[in-house]
Point group: C3
């Protein structure tokens, strides 16, 4: 592995933190409080707005083996090693982590094995990887990187500074804004699951809508987004989708909504802005979810929700024997409730 | 985007509808009643047999901005704009949408970058895209299109007029009928999750079965179908699978059964004909589901079902606090039921 | 299809079984007791440790059309055809099935269309398929096979005798042990879903951890494994993952744990050794699951589990009407329980 080295003095300057410790101490990597070894720096960040778990374990602070820790003034006293103190440890952490990020940006240019269709406009600073196949009438904006083996259909556009990774498939008529990240295996714009039954079986309807994706959108690995039957499927600015999510035809997802892995959203559902949808949640077709709604993981959402708030479903686990007993009762719960009502009446009489 | 233009008179003739309105009115696209703008045509279709949501919103008819609407005689009176009246609006809609479908069919021929193994028979009218790698002893029937970067193993066959899209992976011994659509990212014929535990750990068993797929089958994006351990995994004619579905080794899915996104079907389960399986449903291994069974979304199917009908499971959502309270009670439901029984006895005595 | 033929005498010798029947009988294939036809051999294996269903149907033994059956002495009496008797039918079955496995091993060598980066060490016996793109500073051990169209990032290593199949994507800094199988469509090492919210929206944090995979690990088709934000995501030796599983950033999965299809594991969860996790189970972020824990399918795991045992959740299916009634009651279960308590008090007074 490539080594990146800073002194604590350099890190303090680059992150805007105040150093209490050895300015000349050399740091060669970043790790969690629990796993860090001497020569590494760690950090302590806590927040309900934080979707990353690593590092938020305050309990590991007293015993950390890190050479230094970046943290807020609140925790400075409990830190047994050199400290980098900063008022906003989230921002400090972002800057700190960026120092150790080594992801290489490929050079601009179209790989000689890539195949580009006719009438497509590729900006000069675009990088297109090996074995990419790009269709006709496409547009790709400045600074965008397309990973190897990625397929792009006709009439598809990608904005500036996009990160379209390896093995992505974009069908025809997919329009993507600026600064979007699309991870490997994502499939965008395949025909939706819209069919009509006649006497012979199910007949596919043509899917004439496209997919419209705003700016700053992220789409995780192996996530699928179907094109609309008639109207476009839409992801507004700032939407973030994790891995293995299914977004069906005609769905609309509002600005800055984040969706965790393995969620399924059925056809033409509309989801508001600033929502947070827990992993493996299922959302029924054609329902409407308002802004600022939170679903915890594995929620079964079968009706529209207009009121902001946190919603949950599922039974959570029990030891199997207890579960069997209770679920058998659940399957007779209506009967139980009726018997109770009857008993109440009898007792009151 | 490419523009396709028709007059209303042309559309009436091509769909078999009766025009009430301006025969010379020019139509440049199709959209839903809600989103259509002047110059576009819309439609109104309602049916419980319809798996597409767009356009079925009767409530948008009075205020539509479409220049014309295709609909049944029943709704003609409520239509504020030019009308195309047709007895069977489903069929009319299929014909109408087809008029505006622009998906280009690639020309027959094998792309110069595609690699074809030995002893494989590729019919003359087949189109094979860039960077495809096709194994030995394969057969591909007339009119079939294989998208770019698709991989096909040995002894695999595909019938006529198939649509195998980009970035698909077909392993060895996968047999696919005529007129099948397989969307990007689908993986068919990988070894199933069949193992035997010994003292050292889990040992993979060889998977000797293949995958047998009938005619008119559709397989969605990133759906996975494992090969059988011994017998084939089977999808009968007319089966339609949405995106991100897992079909395990040795599963059999009956004719014309449709399965929505994110469903998981465990090893050797057998599913009947004409079933409809809602999204995110889980089906246990080795169980048998009869014909004409419907599962609503997120059903937990742990036992065989022989009787046709609609089955459901799941708790659906509640505000989180109420959910916590009720689920805590559910975890003691057997106890609650016993107490009620005791109380009933005491009261009756 | 290629034909493989043995006499029963040969099979007896190669599997270590005792033949009771016609030594010269010719066998051309293997099939389940239910589906076998004359000329084929079948087998009977039963065990709770067996994750494969085919062939374990004792009820089909009396009517099987197989020419011979491999089975334990316990079942020999009930076998109506030639028998191959063996004390450990699991091991016998593994040997038997291996006789009929025809999967061809590709020859060593790097396909002329493959692209290999600088400073990567590819062992002499490695086979690299067409259109592979391999990054810089990689290492691939002896005997490993890389299927066509697979992408490998920088600083990624793969041990000996690995089976990395077609259309796989390995990002940078993924370290894989010996004898691992990675099926098509798997995506390993994409950035996790770690973000921090500020006034403008969600901001991605850099993901500096890698993915660390032990020996004898299997990863199914279209399964996704995110890299860690800080520490590595870890799969210990002998871990087996089925298809369409999501493993989030920083997750640790212990030795010999097996996970069935469509499971989702959220960020930084830690799962013990020798666990068995049923399909479509969801595991919350940051929780800890001990060794020897079994979750049945669709379990909703929202809290840590330290005690070994079998745990379950979910409601299982009911006819839709009954389900509606019972779930409506579940949504008032706390109220029902309170009323019961009140009634108990009144009755006791």
């Amino acid at each position: 592995m490539q080594k990146i080295t800073y002194t604590l003095a350099q890190i303090a300057e680059l992150t805007g933190a105040t150093l209490e410790g050895n300015a000349d101490c050399t740091i060669q990597g970043i790790a969690s409080l629990e796993k860090a070894i001497p020569g590494q720096i760690s950090f302590l960040v806590n927040s309900r707005y934080q979707l990353v778990a690593s590092g938020r374990y305050e309990k590991f602070l007293p015993t950390t083996k890190a050479s230094a820790v970046l943290l807020s003034p609140l925790h400075a006293e409990d830190c047994p090693v050199d400290k980098l103190i900063i008022d906003d440890p989230y921002q400090g952490y972002l800057k700190l982590a960026a120092l150790f990020a080594i992801k290489a940006s490929p050079k601009p240019g179209i790989h000689k094995t890539a195949i580009i269709g006719t009438d497509s406009k590729i900006a000069a600073s675009v990088s297109i990887g090996a074995n990419c196949v790009i269709g006709n009438h496409c547009e790709i904006g400045e600074g965008t990187v397309i990973g190897p083996n990625t397929i792009i259909g006709d009439y598809t556009t990608i904005g500036m500074n996009g990160d379209i990774e390896a093995n992505v498939t974009l069908y025809d008529q997919v329009n993507i804004g600026d600064r979007c990240m699309i991870q490997s295996g994502a499939i965008i714009g395949s025909e939706g699951f819209g069919m009509i039954r006649d006497s012979e079986g199910w007949k596919k309807i043509p899917h004439l809508g496209g997919v419209l994706i705003g700016h700053n959108v992220e789409i995780g690995a192996n996530t699928t987004i179907a094109r609309g039957a008639i109207d476009d499927t839409v992801l507004e600015d700032g939407v973030k989708l994790d891995n293995l999510i299914q977004v069906a035809h005609g769905v609309v997802i509002g600005k800055n909504t984040v969706i965790a892995g393995c969620v399924g959203i059925a056809g033409s559902a509309r989801i508001g802005r600033n929502c947070m949808i827990g992993g493996m949640t299922g959302i029924s077709d054609n329902i409407v979810i308002g802004d600022n709604v939170i679903f915890t993981g594995m929620s079964q959402v079968t009706k529209s929700i207009t009121k902001p708030g946190i919603y949950s479903s599922g039974t959570s686990i029990l030891p199997q024997k207890a579960w069997h007993k209770n679920i058998a009762r659940l399957h007779n719960l209506d009967d139980i409730a009726r018997k109770l009502r009857k008993l109440e009446k009898e007792t009151n009489e």
